[in-house]
Amino acid sequence: MTGWAAQGVALGAGSLLLTAVLLVWRAGTRNAALLLGVQGASLALLVLTLGVHHHDAELVGVALLVLAVKAALVPWAVGTTASHVGTPPPARLSPAVALVATTLLTTLGFWVSRPVVSASGPGAGAVPVGFALVLIGFMVMLTRRDALAQLVGFVVVDNGIATVAFLAAGGVPLVVELGVSVDVVLVVLILRVLVRRIEHVFGSTDLALLEELSDR
């Protein structure tokens, strides 16, 4: 892969990673929806590049699906929830520590993805970005006490998985892609309802308040 296609993949992958880092850094703000939108659009760009490069009409169609779902629908669901809930509780990690952790996780992503990169696939060189996204998403879910931030982390994990799928294998079969997209959208919508219920019932989206169920 050379020329414009390589540049398209590089731009998409770089932008995916950058938005993930920004999501970690700007922990306190409520404009995660915008960053998720850019991240979704970057993924769509990446898929579109692969589709055009391989003259694969199905993949171009999938790029439009990705654009609709990950760059519009999911960020919308996150954004409208953000406007309904109050100030988030503080993160467990300071932004500086979180950024250092992000760097380490990205390095780890490059290291663990070696067997994938060596098994050839279109654009396999950028696969580590997908691994890094998955790891960063998990870190967000583990270190945030805020229900909405956990939803954001889940979306980042899912974007990472999709990135690996497209770069390492040219995407999963269409019927699976459709099923997975529907499931992911439904889970995001359910989490959105639950975030609002938590805000309504507990008066805050602080997950530290969820401590009534235990074995004691």
Binding site: V116, A119, A169, V172, G179, D183, V187, I190, D215
Partner: protein
């Protein structure tokens, strides 16, 4: 009874009965594993077997469980989610495509999310949140594994069909497949309630309505484990049996240990039952990990007997909560004297879970322990047997303390006067009878052998 109420009552019942009949026809028919729906779906002896289990457990909880509560609209919504839940499990069992199977498993989370949180109070919202987040994260890891498994195929032959992968395992890059299969199994283990990913289970089970708890514990966990069995069959061919044996035996023993420890000091009947599910799924994982026809057959038989016993117990626990207002073990006494209609199914179900003869779990537990010994895993056998003994003591102690002795005797209304609308004795009795009969029916061995053969074990 309005038409809406009647529909809400009948729909899940009808869906369950259909699944049971369809499963039995497929199981007893002599069809080879035919693909259909453009090769996306396939029924073989194993999927038919699990279909029967889902149908039987669903029929037990819908026939014996409480009718949907609330306004007619809410009742219909409840019935709709329940049917969707059954549909998602059916898709999981019929898919000859690991991606589609994943869609079904994630679908079960979606269908049950609002059923778990239906009461809308603090505890219900907390349980629903933890359930959906942990469940989705778990299956996200599984999806990651499946994506890598797809990438491990070479070029044009890439596929996620388990039958195609089993037919031509050499198409997979073994190094990548190892990572992919391990991730996929770890992810599905979350939905199967295996330790250390079991944290959602007691919360969700204790907050969901009785029929939903019964379904989650009785079959959802096993359906997720069905996915693990399909992955194991592929993995054994691609990278040898060592990987899955290590994962499943390790996870199984850990589940047994963790569940046993938490059952010992348990204070809530529904949570006790939930941890018992982790214990039994641990045993099933152990059976599958040990491998071979004896252990796998025992694990499969364990699935049906445990599922039916749990269905009976969760319905009964729901009724106990309804009548006494509590499921706290410390507040329940003398059920046998005060409410024999509830105490007998409780004792019957517990006797099955404890592995007392003539229940089938007596045979399956012996089978799994003996198979471990046979295959040179004597230490596994010994460790599992000691953990089972402690779990037995914990469960037996709690059961006896709530059933025996004199009841509170204050406002206890007479049992006969409370012949209520659910925990009907007939379906509960039938289900308990089935847990014994499955172990004694002569044809059962053939059924189990055919199911094991579908996984390449004979």
């Amino acid at each position: 009874m309005t038409p809406t109420t009647r529909a809400a009552r009948l729909l899940p019942l009808l869906a369950s009965a259909t699944l049971l009949v369809a499963g039995l026809v497929l199981l007893l028919g002599t069809h080879p594993a035919e693909p259909f729906a453009a090769g996306l779906l396939r029924v073989d002896a194993l999927s038919a077997y699990f279909l029967v289990v889902v149908g039987a457990v669903a029929l037990t909880v819908t026939a014996a469980g409480p009718p949907p509560a609330g306004e007619p609209d809410a009742q219909l919504r409840y019935a709709g989610w329940l049917v969707l839940f059954l549909g998602a499990m059916t898709l999981t069992l019929l898919a000859d495509n690991l991606g589609l199977m994943w869609v079904g498993i994630e679908g079960t989370t979606i269908a049950t999310a609002f059923l778990v949180g239906h009461r809308g109070d603090r505890r219900a919202v907390e349980a629903a949140w933890k359930y959906v987040v942990l469940g989705s994260v778990g299956v996200a890891i599984a999806l990651f594994g499946l994506v890598l498994l797809y990438a491990a195929g070479s070029g044009e032959q890439r596929t996620l069909s388990w039958s195609a992968l089993m037919a031509d395992p050499a198409m997979l890059d073994p190094d990548l497949a190892r990572l992919a299969l391990a991730l996929a199994v770890l992810g599905l283990a979350t939905k199967a309630g295996l330790a250390p990913m079991h944290a959602w289970l007691p919360d969700a089970h204790s907050q969901a309505p009785a029929p939903v708890s019964g379904l989650m514990s009785g079959v959802l966990l096993s359906v997720a484990f069905y996915g693990i069995l399909r992955l194991q069959a592929v993995s054994d061919l691609v990278v040898g049996p060592g990987l899955m044996r290590a994962l499943l035996v390790g996870g199984g023993l850990l589940s047994l240990g963790v569940a046993t420890a938490l059952m010992l000091g348990q204070r809530d009947l529904k949570r006790l039952l939930a941890y018992s599910s982790t214990e039994h799924l641990g045993l099933i994982a152990l059976g599958a990990g040990i491998g071979g026809p004896l252990a796998l057959g025992a694990a499969l038989l364990h699935v049906v007997a445990h599922g039916l016993a749990k269905a009976v117990l969760f319905v009964t626990a729901g009724r106990i909560l309804d009548e006494t207002g509590t499921v706290r073990l410390g507040d329940l006494h003398g059920l046998l004297a005060e409410r024999p209609r509830l105490a007998w199914p409780l004792l019957g179900g517990m006797a099955t879970l404890l592995g007392l003869p003539p229940g089938a779990l007596f045979l399956t537990e012996l089978g799994i322990l003996a198979a471990a010994w046979q295959q040179g895993l004597g230490w596994v056998s010994l460790l599992a047997a000691s953990l089972l003994a402690v779990a037995f003591a914990a469960l037996a102690r709690h059961t006896l303390s709530i059933t025996l002795g004199a009841g509170p005797g204050d406002d206890a209304t007479s049992d006969a006067g409370r012949a209520g609308s659910f925990a009907r004795p007939a379906p509960l009795g039938l289900a308990l009878a089935a847990t014994v009969l499955v172990g004694l029916t002569p044809g059962m061995q053939t059924v189990l052998d055919r199911a094991a053969a579908a996984l390449g074990v004979s």
